[in-house]
Amino acid sequence: MRFTIDASVHINAVNRSEVGSTESRALLERLHRHEHSVVLPTLLLVEVAAAAARALDDAALGIELAQSIYDLPGQTWAPLDESLAGEAARLGAEARLRGADAVYAAVARRFDTVLVTRDRQQLERLRPLLPTQTPAEALDQL
């Protein structure tokens, strides 16, 4: 089984007091220690760096976190080229998604992965379109 991990899982994993943080951390550890196949949009790096820098008011630490995620083993990075953008546009329009959510959906669709997310709107709108799980659900599958 291959996975696409939404930025919400990575952010939740470092948000220690938030519900689900333990599961998000456990999932990331399971995926990367055992080198399960993970396909991610390069957009994730932007989102993690921006979100972490905003929360911490520390640009360098936000970038460092994104870099450390980039260096995790077992990952394939999917850039948003014209073809993937076209697929994201179609999915975004059909499911009324936000732009970033559509990019994750397009990666999951193209690479036949399970999208793992804690994002409310992704879970609501993408479940009818492609395999979508919470971190706890994905942990049960591994």
Binding site: S8, N15, A51, R54, Q67, L72
Partner: protein, 87 residues
């Protein structure tokens, strides 16, 4: 016109050909170029094929994520943060 042979006179001549309505755009672009010249280069995630990258992987992630985790403000919810980043 070759980029190597552009002179100040060439630039000024081109600027004179613009309408005054475009001056604000020119100033914006000059500001962008000035900022670009003085700011730090952006981080590069891609590696060149010949670049030797020591294995970092999970252990480095754990160290950095631990640092982020300790600094993370308790009141900052993931959903609202990503709603701001993704709007």
């Amino acid at each position: 016109m070759s980029v190597d042979t552009v002179t100040e006179k060439d630039i000024l001549e081109k600027l004179r050909m613009l309408s005054s309505e475009q001056w604000a755009q020119v100033l914006d672009f000059i500001g962008y170029l000035s900022q670009k010249a003085t700011s730090e280069p952006p981080p590069t995630f891609a590696r060149s094929p010949e670049e030797h990258v020591p294995p970092r992987g999970w252990d480095t992630y754990v160290r950095v994520a631990g640092h982020v985790r300790r600094a993370w403000p308790e009141e900052q919810a993931t959903q609202s943060l990503l709603d701001e980043v993704r709007r």
